[in-house]
């Protein structure tokens, strides 16, 4: 999944001379938390709702007035993304820098923006939770061909896999979470066990163990 697939457009931007009052109004009206600041067509900074609130708060050592320009409160060194970056790279940057948004820049112009909310949406999409599905968890050996064996199991039964997530469990095994387009996950789990897969969920009924 690429940044261009999840970024929001068009982007609401302001200039360094926009006042705190105007910026605040925009943030509220649009229901957003980040405003890229543009100067002469080039990205000059980002200001967040928190920047605006703090700069104008009585708790700020030198509080600004609503009529002052936002220039002094914006972050001037901005971390950006390219539309073709994979989203996991964007996530790593945002997590590493502890920032809430990345303006997406192409040919020096801002073509979109992604925020941590967009990454959550992406996670939901990756997990396949938007479809009516059942969930299976299978533990696989971390060797070539195991995932293929698992997916062909479903292919042979004409069961559509809506999403598949894998992650290492730290002990040489790969935990695999599938969302499948059927409500017959318990019978599937039984058949998987018969085919020598380690099914973590659904588990056998505890009173039958």
């Amino acid at each position: 999944m690429l940044v261009r697939e999840i970024m929001k457009t068009p982007v609401t931007t302001i200039s360094p001379d926009t006042t705190f009052l105007e910026a605040c109004k925009l943030l509220h009206e649009k229901g957003i938390r980040h405003l890229p600041v543009m100067e002469n067509g080039i990205l000059a900074g980002v200001i967040t709702d928190r920047d605006v609130r703090f700069a104008t708060s009585a708790l700020c050592p030198s509080p600004q007035q609503g009529s002052d320009p936002v220039r002094s409160a914006m972050s001037a060194s901005v971390v950006t993304a390219d539309p073709s970056d994979p989203i996991e790279e964007a996530a790593r940057v945002m997590r590493g820098q502890k920032i809430g948004c990345l303006p997406v820049v192409e040919d020096r112009s801002v073509v979109g923006i992604i925020t941590n909310m967009d990454l959550l949406d992406a996670l939901l999409k990756l997990a396949g939770v938007y479809d009516s599905t059942g969930r299976l968890e299978v533990s696989l050996d971390d060797v070539p061909g195991e995932l293929a064996r698992l997916t062909s199991f479903f292919g042979h039964r004409n069961v559509n896999i809506r999403s598949i997530l894998t992650y290492p469990n730290g002990q040489g095994l790969i935990r695999t979470v599938l969302r499948v387009d059927t409500n017959q996950t318990l019978p599937l789990a039984e058949a998987l066990r018969e085919a020598q897969f380690t099914v973590l969920w659904p588990m056998p009924k505890p009173w039958l163990r």
Binding site: S132, G134, P202
Partner: protein
């Protein structure tokens, strides 16, 4: 006493051999009741018309079902949820599904027309069907069509879903409606199909606070299920003041059901049915329409639904299953089928984790009630 609705054409709703949603479940149930000395005398409903289906479903979807039914191109089947292992295409499926809808709709009209207060539709309960999609064995949403019939007459309807699975189709078709309260108790969608039915799905617009979900932990046992029911359902009905109760009485929450992980017993179901009738007496002058639903353990489903029938008819629940019935259906019931109507006591060996399940279920209910308190007054 209750009126029972059934039509032999219900048997046409058959996805084929090895499919769990088989009409054999019904035949086995009716035969059990007859063997117990209570042969069913049923009202035969008319089949639902295409127009009646369209009160809830999209025309494009119905047209797709009809085309696939006639064996025309299967292009576009998948987008309508058809041709999958859950919902295979079979000849005559449009008509078969309309028979089931016809029954539930007829039940609604009997109640709306003051001809009857208590109705049991021996079929239907296709709660997963969406506006433009078949899902989870459900082609047309008979429940929603029946509810829409009440709504079109200005009635307020409370829908109660005790199937193992979340009643997602009915909930979403009335998500914004302030005429329809939906309450679904089900195994948590964290694991189980369809994956929805979380406590924060509360409805939207003027229907906010009128969609209620009680997702329960896998392996939740009867007492905890009834505790959750008692904590939410009576209050909800008291607040909403419905004129009629529509109940999807799926039996797949039973501990032996092969599709899920709830651990209800025949005694839980009997207690549940009694509670529902009591609530109907208190809130809807007894008006209640029951349908069947999920339920996939051949040796369990006829027993659970026989108890439903006997309870609705104010008949005693006999202890033993008739020998002739056990012999006749042995091939369906499978080896080791028990000889009593109720589950043995204890029904299964005790198992661990009860404290943690109870803690989580109680927390779910308490968080749900906290959210609802903003809308209930």
């Amino acid at each position: 006493m209750a009126s029972v609705i059934y039509h032999p054409e219900y048997r046409r709703y058959d996805f084929g051999e090895d499919h769990p949603f088989t009409p054999a479940r019904l035949a086995c149930l009716m035969d059990l009741l007859a063997s117990l000395g209570y042969p069913i005398s049923a009202v035969e409903p008319p089949v639902a018309s295409r127009e009646e289906i369209l009160t809830v479903h999209d025309e494009a979807y119905v047209a797709a079902v009809e085309a696939l039914d006639r064996g025309e191109s299967t292009a576009g089947a998948m987008e309508h949820g058809l041709g999958t292992p859950d919902n295979p295409i079979f000849p005559g499926m449009d008509l078969a599904a309309r028979w089931l809808v016809g029954g539930t709709l007829h039940g609604a009209r009997m109640i709306a027309g003051d001809d009857e207060t208590r109705v049991l539709q021996l079929g239907g309960g296709l709660h997963h069907a969406a506006r433009a999609k078949a899902a989870g064995f459900c082609l047309y949403n008979d429940l929603a069509i029946a509810i829409q019939e009440f709504v079109s007459r200005g009635w307020y309807v409370a829908y109660l879903d005790i199937d193992l699975h979340h009643g997602d189709g009915v909930q979403s078709l009335f998500y914004e409606s302030d005429r329809v309260l939906t309450v679904s108790l089900h195994e948590s969608g964290y694991y189980l199909y369809p994956g929805t039915g979380h406590i924060h799905e509360l409805g939207s617009g003027s229907g906010r606070g009128m969609k209620i979900n009680i997702p329960l932990e896998p392996f939740t046992e009867g007492d905890d299920y009834l505790e959750a029911f008692d904590a939410v359902v009576p209050q909800a009905l008291s607040w909403f003041s419905p004129r009629v109760l529509v109940v999807q009485a799926g039996a797949d929450g039973h501990f032996a059901d092969p599709m899920g992980d709830l651990a209800l017993t025949t005694r839980t179901y009997q207690a549940l049915y009694a509670r529902i009738l009591d609530l109907a007496a208190r809130h809807t002058e007894g008006r209640v329409l029951f349908t069947l639903g999920g339920g996939y353990a051949p040796a369990v489903v006829p027993r659970v639904w026989a108890i439903l029938y006997l309870t609705l008819m104010n008949l005693p629940v006999p202890e033993r299953l008739p020998e002739d019935w056990l012999a006749k259906w042995a091939h369906v019931l499978g080896p080791g089928a028990i000889s009593t109507l109720h589950d043995p006591d204890p029904p299964y060996p005790a198992f661990a984790g009860g404290e943690e399940r109870r803690r989580r279920n109680r927390n779910t209910v308490s968080r749900l009630l906290d959210s609802l308190s903003r809308y209930w007054y």
